[in-house]
Symmetry: C2
Subunit: 350 residues, 2 copies
């Protein structure tokens, strides 16, 4: 197979970990006889620094014309504490999601046996946890109208959802549940929000088309508790953009390391793959960033194009690295490897 892949490695540890994902994909191409062509684009703080724009037009065009996007991370503390900055790295990511129509963000959360004891949660709580979170990614309060009064004393954000926006991701989530343990939990705040009530209504209607899947509902505050009390109760979680941001980050730590978690963002025509850890500026350039989340994002990319054997080859190599404890300092305090060496091992193993 021939795939054109846009590489947007972005800020902080983004470039270091993305380089390992590319190395891994090169190994796959070599072993399985594929051709993957990588083309780089600027995004985030580095794009602002170089062009004034967190998502330059060339980058967007590049993404539109490739088969898939491999994303690193964006964000820089110099923007975070400056509430009046009008250009911010995150705008690049948000615009990309919107322009590419990536309406569903899929985040698998799994407790790896070898890492269970690194979790802040007790072993008996997390054992068997295997969740797939479907977060709506191009609607809600992220993209609703934002206002700041002229005198700067009143600010607002609109959380809006249409039936269509809810429907398309709901179908994806139900289909995923059918291939898994056949349970779908909608997380919302229907006791307070009008938009949540629309979610509940639309999802309930669609559920009749997937009668083999058990549907239940959880208020987001309760979901935030249940995620800690009993995470293995969940199979597929479906939720709107903001709640998905919070709940999926919360879920990301239960497995023992956020450095392992990959994500896929999909739409009707485009797709993007991204580690969920963010730019982690404190670690930049030190060779301590865990590349496995980026590498597993590459595996999700292969899976998306139905290259299942190839994706499994990556997963096996990753599990081997974990088993042998050939990992970065976050998982190995006594004898850690650098970001690059972990990438080398995984690529060689393939």
């Amino acid at each position: 197979m021939k795939l054109d892949i846009a590489v947007l490695s972005g800020d902080g540890i983004g470039p270091e970990v993305t380089a390992q994902a590319i190395k891994t994909l090169d190994a796959i191409a070599h072993t399985f006889n594929h051709s993957f062509i990588f083309k780089e684009g600027l995004v985030g703080a580095i794009a602002i620094d170089q062009t004034g724009n967190p998502l330059p037009d060339e980058t967007l065009e590049l993404c539109v014309n490739t088969d898939a996007v491999l994303f690193g991370a964006i964000g820089d503390p110099k923007y975070d504490n400056n509430p009046s900055a009008t250009v911010r790295p995150e705008q690049g990511l948000l615009k990309l999601r919107k322009e590419l129509g990536l309406y569903a963000n899929i985040r698998p959360v799994k407790a790896y046996e070898t890492l269970i004891d690194k979790s802040p949660l007790k072993r008996e709580i997390i054992e068997g946890t295997d969740i797939s979170i479907y977060r709506e990614l191009t609607g809600g309060i992220y993209f609703g109208e934002k206002k700041l009064s002229k005198d700067g004393t009143v600010a607002s954000d609109l959380c809006e959802y249409s039936k269509e926006e809810i429907e398309r991701i709901t179908h994806l989530a139900f289909k995923a549940a059918q291939k898994r343990r056949k349970k779908l939990t909608l997380v919302d705040k229907a006791n307070v929000l009008e938009s949540s009530r629309l979610w509940r209504k639309v999802v309930t209607e669609i559920a009749t088309q997937y009668s083999d899947v058990a549907l239940d509902f959880l208020f987001v505050d309760n979901a935030a508790m249940q995620m800690i009390l009993n995470p293995s109760q969940f199979d597929v979680i479906l939720t709107e953009n903001m709640f998905g941001d919070i709940i999926s980050d919360e879920a990301s730590v239960i497995g023992g390391s956020i450095g392992l978690l990959a994500s896929a963002s999909v739409g009707n025509t485009c797709c993007m793959f991204e580690p969920i850890h963010g730019s982690y500026p404190q670690a930049t350039g030190k060779g301590i960033a865990n590349p496995i989340a980026a590498i597993l994002s590459a595996a999700m990319l292969l899976e998306h194009f139905n290259l299942l054997g190839e994706a499994n080859a990556i997963r096996n190599a990753v599990e081997k690295a974990l088993e042998l404890n050939l990992t970065t300092p976050d998982l190995n305090s006594t004898n850690p490897l650098t970001t690059e060496k972990v990438g080398d091992f995984i690529a060689d193993y393939i």
Copy 2:
């Protein structure tokens, strides 16, 4: 001291646990020579059933004319799964908060030594945790304009904040931090939301008046992770309504039992005290509900009126009950007491 106290025990386990709080306050009145007069009002699902209104006018009037409100819980599953119900129990609580101007919800989260091993988190993670969460309670997306298009296909909620709304709770939170470990963490989503950027700006300005308090910022998704990874890093957390709902419920499970957690909601003229566990309908009438959260809410009430010795008498009695394991099934699986017996012990001990 003479206090008029409105009792709104509400739905589910609300009445059972509130009865124990009243018993405890009666014991305090007797021992310390105070006069507490309790007057009951209807609220929630039971108020809908009896009057059609989740917050009848008489209840509101009662609350306005008393010194403090003791609240039980509201909510009933028959409303939760009916997105088109136009009258819902939660409206009673929300209206009460708004009408009484209870703009700050204060939730202490503490790891009790005797309960640490019941936590889903590991001992070394939660040891020393002692957080006070200041959640804004009368603004944001809870109270912004809600819309549903005529054809029912588009729904929206507006999240709006004014400078004044942010200022008043921010001052309370900084003052609390001054009396504690002098650290305040603002939780927001300033990289995406205009309203969060206003929060960050206003809080940063006010911080200059409290130079002995260290201020830092956390995005809400990161806060949801940090709460599990390292909860003892927090002292006072300040946040807006929706984020406060999620983060405080998440925090509530780290101590080992949500059945212990009390809250105070305060405004300029009125105040209300409430266990945070909710109506827990499955447990209603079984005598298994933990009354300690309601009893500790009564302690917060006394504290609010500067009856510190009295509040401590309650806390000591509660700690004794925990020490002797004279508790309900959630904390004691071998030889549990009923809700009432736990209340009896605490009142007698006082």
